[in-house]
Subunit: 394 residues, 2 copies
């Protein structure tokens, strides 16, 4: 019997929003769910117990960072990522592609070291049919990542879910480039599957990725491809457009074309309103560095009644008006931070550059995202998702 399964129900069969369970050898995820980014095998400033205490179900780590440091062999020797980092729940790694290509385009260099580095050298050296050649940001060594080696590395990393290597194109490339790139990504995905099947021991499952940029016909072609393959789940990747409206349109048209019997993940999206939009289109899981990165910069996500203005989902605790505000981030929040600490204290910690500031705000943001997902699941069950969305986003 498989160690994995995915089941879902549509409480309102006229709507796409769905309630699911993803069963893994390391526990069960109730969907819709949020996946937090433990980029280098650590949630920055928060330990696994604290993540669990705030109701976290699911985390991911980045193959790109871990293949460079400490290297897949070390993590394999530790018994895989779960044991290496002390995380006992479901876990996913990406293929390494996103960071290679986005670094190559110079757009998310800030992700690498947690700060903007405008003079970051281009590290992507060459993309060929075979794979991608890039330079390590740590020691300058040249690496060659192929669909096969990405799978081999993710085998060693040992998460529950692994992802095929794809080329992640920038949003400004034209339709011709997008088409050719997508088709190469499909060939890479087939090679990933073949490599995955060669060493399949039943302890991991593979996600395919849908590319095709903002073009409906390409998204159709990409969905047709992944639907024809035996992936466990599907992740919507690639460019979703330059503006929110276009993103919602691309997500909607893509999700509706996907085999509904498989879990659907939306890569890199984590704004509250964007999560609602995804859920309405049948998305099951989301990941994004936003809640945790925002926290490290002093931003605390808050429910609508605690916002400064309705369009801003967070409070900036660096603001000097919090200096003598000795109420919690949110009065009605059950997280460790809100139960024990105040905005004024966290403001002081930020000003004093104390490590604890990032830790306390991250705890709150993780709790809030998990609370949001729970409220969304309850609303789907009760067929009140529109009302819940109005509450959070209006």
């Amino acid at each position: 019997m498989s160690l994995f399964s995915f089941k879902y129900i549509n409480p309102n069969p006229l709507k796409k929003a769905r309630l699911g369970t993803i069963v893994t050898p390391n526990g069960t995820v109730k969907t819709p769910a949020f996946i937090f980014c433990a980029t280098k095998a650590a949630i920055k400033g928060v330990n696994p117990k604290q993540m669990t205490d705030e109701n976290t179900q699911f985390i991911l780590a980045n193959t790109y960072h871990l293949m460079l440091q400490p290297g897949p062999d070390i993590i394999e020797k530790a018994g895989g990522l779960h044991k290496f980092m002390g995380w006992n729940g479901p876990m996913l790694t990406d293929s390494g592609g996103f960071q290679i290509f986005s670094l190559g385009h110079g757009s998310v260099a800030s992700e690498i070291k947690g700060k903007r580095m405008n003079d970051w050298p281009k590290t992507l050296l060459k993309i060929t049919e075979e794979g991608a050649k890039f330079r390590s940001y740590i020691d300058g060594k040249i690496h060659f990542l192929t669909p096969e080696s990405s799978i081999q590395i993710q085998r060693k990393l040992g998460p529950d879910f692994v992802v095929v290597l794809d080329e992640c194109t920038a949003f400004h490339v034209d339709k011709k480039y997008t088409t050719n790139s997508m088709r190469m990504s499909h060939r890479w995905a087939s090679r990933s599957l073949a490599e995955f099947n060669k060493s399949d021991d039943g302890k991991q499952k593979l996600y395919g990725i849908i590319q095709g940029g903002v073009y409906q016909d390409l998204r159709q072609e990409s969905c047709d491809y992944v639907n024809s393959q035996p992936f466990f789940g599907h992740a919507i990747g690639g460019s979703l457009g330059a503006a929110k409206e276009q993103m919602y349109e691309v997500v909607a048209m893509t999700a509706e074309k996907l085999d509904s019997s498989k879990p659907i993940h939306l890569l890199g999206i984590g704004g509250i309103i964007d999560v609602f939009n995804g859920v309405e289109n049948g998305i099951d899981t989301f990941d994004c560095v936003h809640p945790t990165r925002l926290a490290r910069h002093g931003g605390a996500l808050v429910k609508p009644e605690n916002r400064e203005n309705k369009n801003k989902e967070h409070l900036n605790l660096n603001n000097s008006r919090f200096r003598d505000d000795f109420s919690p981030i949110e009065e009605n929040c059950k997280c460790y931070t809100c139960q024990n600490h105040t905005k004024g204290y966290i403001h002081h910690l930020l000003k004093a550059k104390e490590l604890l500031a990032a830790s306390l705000i991250t705890i709150h943001n993780v709790h809030l995202m998990n609370h949001l997902m729970k409220k969304i699941r309850e609303a789907i069950q009760n067929d009140s998702l529109e009302k819940e969305k109005r509450y959070w986003t209006l």
Copy 2:
């Protein structure tokens, strides 16, 4: 009835080591005890719950840092340090003197921002009978700290215990300077007491400080002074000499001259062997940044059977030989870190500059120091302190 008390017993009346209880409005401390440094109202990278989970009884914060940022009025408005930082146990603040003078001498600039800064500007501008003038390291503003203003600031900070302002002399000054400085510190202490008594509401108690450097006659004079005053407790300060042997001698000769009915604190000492030496001489409490600062640099304190060599009280987890060591820092440790994480993982976190590294090692070091103090208390009770000392220090 007083909210405070100190009681002790000498299980072996022929020895000076003693078991005590310090009762405060915020809880009771079993002594001998270690006081951890929450310099800027935070243990770096560890929250109050984590400190309590690792059996911490007592913490301190530094008046110097807090008077500059966020300022005493903010902390008073929060309801005092306990409420400001969410710490529910006994707490002490120092007078601000140590940092002013050591910064002035340029010797512990590293303490200010947690790193060495050799080009740190001299911030101590002038010492007079009235007090000390210095420049803020944050905004360059000039401040004047007097015995009275130090007490007023510590009233606003609101810890259980406050300390008189003294001049902290460098170890290389001559006997004449030490004598004059000590006598001025006594006059400052009397002014501190007078100021303290003016506003005494019974919620705080005052510690006096013994100065006198390495000179037996001056230490005698300083002990005579503090013994004649109604301090709640006594703290041994000032230069303890350049080498360990001299330090042990100065601590021994000072402690035996002090009124034994009052708790005795040894300022700034926290090496394991030094703690045993203090306890043998009747010291009740210790404070030092060592266990927490060491942790931030990758040093994990370990019990003798887990050491690399018997004279080194810690493992340096930056060392590459821990890369694939997937055992905990100590197999026989009950701290969160050892129960959940390995040396290899922490080594990775240090290399990847992850915030979590400092947090996890600090948790371990705090646990170990609290464990050490518990074993010391048990050994005093069982009259086996020499055996316990041999175990930890040979």
